[in-house]
């Protein structure tokens, strides 16, 4: 029978770092809030999320199948009309647009799963374990990077089948794949924050409205000059349009730097706005169930 005293809380259970003899090893533990702990714990928790998502048909559907079907549909419905106007294949706008839509739709699912883990008590359980306090949120963002890349790659594959091509060389291809990450992460952080404060129903509706607005009022949907004048400034400078334009520049050709910088500013601004509410909300969700 082992009784834990305050002193025994120094006990750690990681065998690889433990030295000594016998079954009961006493080693100086890394403090719970050390950077190495953060990296290790984030890795474990992110792997947990990814493993869960990859086995969950809903997440796979939202992040892979839905964007593919949507891309094919939008191309059938609007492809010809838009191509006639822009004089280059509409796919250079729709492929990035649908990738962003899939990324935002997937963030929705992960927000709901966060709410579930809160109700199930998983967040509180992690809070009482010697786990780095920041690893819960950090792991979600790390896992989201993987989710974003999987969605982008899936949409790109179908786009390539439909006639999408890279005309700017392999480096631009790599950059094209990375553009959605910044904005996707900012959107994930927003969804996480909303899901920590609002009720489930409101969160789902609100995020759906956000991505529908960003999708339909963007230059990836129809060319800018077809929108009414009064809404053109919004359409031109909203983050998804900027991502689409940067990605259009990296694939078909055109300006990249301007839209890219503006989009990164958007992402940084969103991240700065939600960072503190998100951290506070996560703490509250972990400590008050």
């Amino acid at each position: 029978m082992m009784t834990l005293t305050v002193k025994d809380s120094q006990l750690v259970v990681d065998p690889p770092t433990a030295r000594g003899k016998g079954r009961h090893r006493r080693v100086p533990a890394l403090p719970e809030n050390s950077l190495r702990r953060l990296v290790a714990n984030t890795g474990v928790l992110a792997a947990r999320l990814l493993r869960r998502w990859s086995r969950d048909s809903a997440t796979l559907f939202a992040s892979v199948i839905m964007p593919i079907v949507l891309l094919v549909t939008v191309d059938i419905v609007l492809g010809e009309g838009v191509t006639q106007i822009t004089k280059h294949d509409a796919l250079y706008g729709t492929v990035p647009l649908i990738a962003m839509v899939g990324i935002m739709g997937g963030a929705n699912g992960s927000g709901i799963s966060l709410m579930r883990e809160r109700t199930d008590g998983l967040l509180s359980r992690l809070w009482v374990l010697p786990v780095h306090r920041a690893s819960g949120l950090a792991s979600r963002l790390v896992a989201d990077v993987f989710r974003i890349e999987v969605t982008t790659a899936a949409v790109l594959c179908v786009g390539l089948m439909l006639g999408f091509r890279f005309h700017q060389g392999p480096l631009a291809w790599v950059a094209w794949m990375l553009v959605p990450v910044a904005l996707g992460l900012a959107f994930s952080a927003t969804v996480i924050t909303i899901s920590l404060y609002a009720s489930d129903k409101v969160m789902v509706d609100a995020t759906e409205i956000i991505w529908i607005v960003l999708m339909f009022f963007s230059t990836g949907f129809v060319p800018l000059h077809l929108y009414p004048d009064w809404i053109q400034p919004f359409v031109e400078h909203q983050p998804v349009s900027l991502a689409v334009e940067a990605m259009r520049g990296l694939s078909h050709g055109g300006e990249v730097r301007g839209p890219l910088i503006e989009m990164l500013l958007w992402a940084a601004g969103i991240a700065a706005a939600v960072a503190i509410p998100m951290a506070l909300g996560y703490r509250k969700a972990s400590t008050h169930g």
Binding site: L70, T73, I85, G109, S113, A198, D200
Partner: protein, 269 residues
């Protein structure tokens, strides 16, 4: 013996239905559900009208304005959005176990479903009103007289009931609130985009035209467009040819969905 049977209160199906309906409707006065619903209906109208007006306006074949062409479709989208929430709610009910509890109580097997359906219809009425208001703002008018206007609204609500039954069934069956959103929203967008609601049939590639013409959303749009009428004759006349298929889709879906509901509601595990 008489004492025991006297101690058991009589149950009224209507009262049970009302209590369960109120259970879903009451929270909507306190949380942000109604504002989101209103915003969603307006957003849907704006999201299709503003970008597509200039792209599609010249090709709609004789109707007076793109607003007149588009609004039936917007009404269906707004109602479908309200029905998605039915799926979400029934999935949450299933997960939280309240459906299992209902099964242990002396409640008719379809009453929980019926009450969720009424709550969704309440949302559908709000969504439809706001969609029609938004339509009015962009220039949509009823030209068909009172009877046709009332039929337009009834048809829209019947569509809402069908979609709510479908959503409710999906939610109860898969018991997964996370899955219901993509399962419902994507078909909503795809059926909406691949319909005659946005552009005439000849604008689609030839191989997909049969699907576009015959799928339910297109038939509903055709019927609602005829009922709304237009200042030109291009909207189509109200005949069995234009209304019949729309009603047939609704009737057929109901005939399949209601028995399935009874089946799922009594399923044991």
């Amino acid at each position: 013996m008489t004492e025991m049977s006297a101690a058991r209160p009589s149950v009224s199906s209507v009262q049970q239905w009302w209590v369960l309906t109120a259970r879903t409707i009451t929270p909507t006065f306190r949380n942000a559900e109604l504002p989101t619903l209103a915003v969603a209906s307006i957003i849907f109208t704006a999201a299709f009208y503003l970008p597509l007006k200039n792209l599609m306006g010249p090709v709609i074949g004789g109707m007076s304005s793109y607003a007149q062409y588009l609004t039936p479709m917007m009404a269906i989208q707004a109602i479908a959005f309200a029905a998605v929430s039915a799926a979400f709610r029934s999935a949450v009910d299933s997960v939280q176990g309240i459906n299992r509890r209902f099964k242990a109580l002396p409640i008719g097997r379809l009453i929980p479903m019926a009450s969720r359906l009424s709550a969704t219809m309440y949302r559908c009425v709000i969504a439809l009103s706001i969609a029609l208001l938004a339509g009015h703002v962009i220039g949509f008018r009823f030209y068909g007289g009172t009877a046709h206007t009332v039929s337009f609204c009834i048809l829209a609500l019947l569509i809402g009931a069908t979609l709510a039954l479908l959503g409710d069934l999906i939610g109860t069956w898969n018991e997964n609130p996370e899955a219901t959103l993509p399962i419902m929203v994507v078909p909503q967008l795809i059926f909406g985009l691949l319909s005659v609601g946005l552009q005439p049939i000849h604008r689609f590639p030839e191989w997909i035209q049969p699907f576009v013409r015959n799928q339910p959303v297109s038939q509903w749009v055709i019927a609602m467009r005829a009922l709304a009428g237009d200042s030109t004759p291009a909207a189509g006349a109200v005949t069995w040819n234009s209304i019949g298929p729309a009603l047939a889709w609704i009737l057929g879906a109901m005939l399949i969905l209601i028995p399935l509901h009874a089946l799922v509601a009594t399923r044991r595990r």
